[in-house]
Symmetry: D2
Subunit: 299 residues, 4 copies
Amino acid sequence: MQIDGVEIEDTFAEAFDIYVSKFLITAATQKFAKIAADETVGFGSSVISCPAEAGIDDYVPPNKTPDGRPGYVVMICHPKKDELEHQLIERIGQCVLTSATTAVFDAMGKEADEQLKIGFKLKFFADGYDTEGKIGGRTIYKIPLMSGDFIIEGELGIKKGVAGGNFFVMAENQASALLGAEVAVDAIQGVSGTITPFPGGIVASGSKVGSNKYKFMHATTNEKFCPTLRGAEGIDCEIPEGIEGIYEIVIDGVGEQAIKDAMKAGISAAVKVPGVKRIYAGNYGGTLGAYQIWLTALF
Amino acid sequence: MQIDGVEIEDTFAEAFDIYVSKFLITAATQKFAKIAADETVGFGSSVISCPAEAGIDDYVPPNKTPDGRPGYVVMICHPKKDELEHQLIERIGQCVLTSATTAVFDAMGKEADEQLKIGFKLKFFADGYDTEGKIGGRTIYKIPLMSGDFIIEGELGIKKGVAGGNFFVMAENQASALLGAEVAVDAIQGVSGTITPFPGGIVASGSKVGSNKYKFMHATTNEKFCPTLRGAEGIDCEIPEGIEGIYEIVIDGVGEQAIKDAMKAGISAAVKVPGVKRIYAGNYGGTLGAYQIWLTALF
Amino acid sequence: MQIDGVEIEDTFAEAFDIYVSKFLITAATQKFAKIAADETVGFGSSVISCPAEAGIDDYVPPNKTPDGRPGYVVMICHPKKDELEHQLIERIGQCVLTSATTAVFDAMGKEADEQLKIGFKLKFFADGYDTEGKIGGRTIYKIPLMSGDFIIEGELGIKKGVAGGNFFVMAENQASALLGAEVAVDAIQGVSGTITPFPGGIVASGSKVGSNKYKFMHATTNEKFCPTLRGAEGIDCEIPEGIEGIYEIVIDGVGEQAIKDAMKAGISAAVKVPGVKRIYAGNYGGTLGAYQIWLTALF
Amino acid sequence: MQIDGVEIEDTFAEAFDIYVSKFLITAATQKFAKIAADETVGFGSSVISCPAEAGIDDYVPPNKTPDGRPGYVVMICHPKKDELEHQLIERIGQCVLTSATTAVFDAMGKEADEQLKIGFKLKFFADGYDTEGKIGGRTIYKIPLMSGDFIIEGELGIKKGVAGGNFFVMAENQASALLGAEVAVDAIQGVSGTITPFPGGIVASGSKVGSNKYKFMHATTNEKFCPTLRGAEGIDCEIPEGIEGIYEIVIDGVGEQAIKDAMKAGISAAVKVPGVKRIYAGNYGGTLGAYQIWLTALF
């Protein structure tokens, strides 16, 4: 299948179950909301070695937030529910509560499978001086700080979502692949309920599970897809002719449909970039993940 | 003591020993270097609950970097050396190696007490396909990726530095205290070898050690310094008359002198903001930290 | 009238007729769309001495633009229609056509009073090598450039709109007034069809018409509202007691209702900032402008 | 001549005399200094149709500015001295004086050929309420505003500089040429005394003088260098084989050496980008400009 002259490989992205949280960080200004959100989602590209996968889902203007201030919806994801709860407490406690002028509200709403008492637990920081209140029908706690009060909703919803939606942008050189990946990330930013947790939304280092050589490595470079190893001894290169640059986009989302929407939006944008030649996806032969998202079925 | 009509309290910041790493992340463009640096230093405000304290020290233009590309010097700090090494491997491996077009070089240089073999360890990701080389006299490893090669210097220097340098900006309202804190952070940004690890460099939630009420809490709000608790029952408020907003700046640095320079630069900037009334500092009576940095001795 | 304890003065903003254009700049990435938009709206705060009043109305994600790429809606305004046309040709020709990967589409749609043949005129830059085409039912021209093709819709709609909507944020100090102004600008950013053309959306220098002392000056500082002149000789200070900082927000919009919506959104946000004490508005006694927008009638 | 495998054409950039101003905009925070600088240099890509050529030269940290606040050095250029003076008064008056918390200081220093009384003229805005003072040995005027005082140095230095330094980045596709141009701009940003006045520093639309077809056009597309016109009827294409994307960098500077340094820095950076194949430069056969800067002589 071809779109705008770009080959869409007849293969699938293999995706996994993951627990997903989605909450809103507001602040006095958009700038301070962004600062808090960025700190909160940092060191959050992949649970291979990061303590969570995290990203910014969306900006919400003041007239659409519970407290009438600008905010960012943030998603934090983890395969284990108790680890997700732990991450929520640590990341909100250390990265949002400590940030100037912030507040936290649930953003999962009715989609939630379950409510975690994150606000309830964080209020112990107030050492007994917290007060309970209501904002727009939501139960919130006020935690007095040196700078004023931090406000957090008592419960934040989580749900079972999907991790590891993905596609590869393959191009005739690295710059085209990179520009293709950038435009894909911009497009996915517009799909609600999804994040691209890697830095800038882009994966420079698509990997394989395990290692051929080192038993202690859980993941190593995907040598068959490294352009600089083409023709090297012992390499069975699988990169199609004419491809010299490959970037991967990895997507976590609130559900399979959100992942599909994001993949479609991203691929549709990437194929418009001159020099982008093929769209590919990563899988493990269907042996590991609960979801198989076929590229050609998206269109 | 007064500067520009602002009272500089006759007290001291109590600071601690910490292990500090300092390395340079370069990328094709300043934008991609910033993306990688931001991801690397995220979730890194305080080791109370973050896995490290981290921040951006400085921007380095292309004509001053080993590979002629724009870069950011990043500092990662931890009280334990083995935890620092672990954080370097995880954060560089997950947040820089995965970022588009990046490379990593040592930035501690001759100041280092010790060299950690971070590049040497990360090269196992290449699954045997790494190559060794030289850039500007430095030993580097090339790790083939799907997008091209990731380059990292074999060893990164660390040293014993100082954590927890601090001062409080006290103002007649929250907005003045916040603007005072912002200008202080901008000023400290210019002091090489220091970072302000909290979100945007500012702490909204200065805390006390332990809790009056909950045995399981290691740190809780500093209720005697919470403006919204002034006059509340059981509160022995220590906020001077006329102060309604307080933000704290916390500084980690390569040494005591760097911390002093940063505190002086930050305070000098903050006192210029209308509405800022007092500069204060946090300590534990000298019982916990190795360093006592007296505010009035800075000037 | 009071909102959240802030006095809303019983006065009105006096606003004027102005011609307004509204168009969409798209580019390969959000970054390049923003670069083009920023250059296009620069040197565009007030027609007192700028060649136009200009600003960014809104970001539009890729799935909502005619060419499926990210874009910014930009508004350019001028009291004279022929000057507006001239500015459109110069600003699009010099700031968008010259920008990497850009395209321009009409964003006024059915609201337009009139169509200007901006694309038709700019295509002469192609020196005869332009081609006509269609994108999403719109007639566009392709202008070949060294970097590829620049695409612009043949006609861009304009309409009679309103300039000079305004309010003053008065606070107990400069920092509070500034923070109040910043949050107001963030809130107005969410109101479609309006811009705040001054730098960062904020006016530091509210002025009076003419001069008491210099015949050659068309506008000079509003000395009765300058906090640093309170109590100076010959000054009949009109700043209420307790006010030490004042910033003005000026709004241009596609119509009176848009201005009202923006004023309401901005004031509602500003009154939430601690230290903000009064909201005021600027007028000329109703002698100059076609519109009187009463502050208290907004709520 | 080849650098890193990229062909450096044996040709020259033809550059022109221009009057250059260089001044420093400081503000309370780096953010507000940037807002003012961006507004000031907007609509300033080329004097073909913009009222000036303008750009940001450099960021200056608080400890290096006359008033101890963060700032940006801005350059504004015009072929005519009286027009430059006019632009300085209008742009500083409308874009800096109106910006929150700003001040303006000379940044040309001893390099100046001449001093223009810009501060002296702008102080009439104070309507007689200005006061004279000294900051770091500089004569400054304080102009009372609603938000506080605007401070500007009495005289700003200008000098004869050089406009139109340039080179072309030619690549195997548009994405590589664009990435090559981006890295060149990042590198030139580090060369003091130079600006790249086009949007984002990059010219997408290199032009020829005049028109083959329309007498009323002063500049039109350079059809011989448009990749999408290769092979079109009547086109004598001069684009080398294998080149599909071309971006131009245009540089203005305080003198010929600064332009040379900037061209060398930019080219050195661009040739490192995969897919960049040739560096070229634009000239008029030496008939129009005072300076011939040969590419190969830079290395």
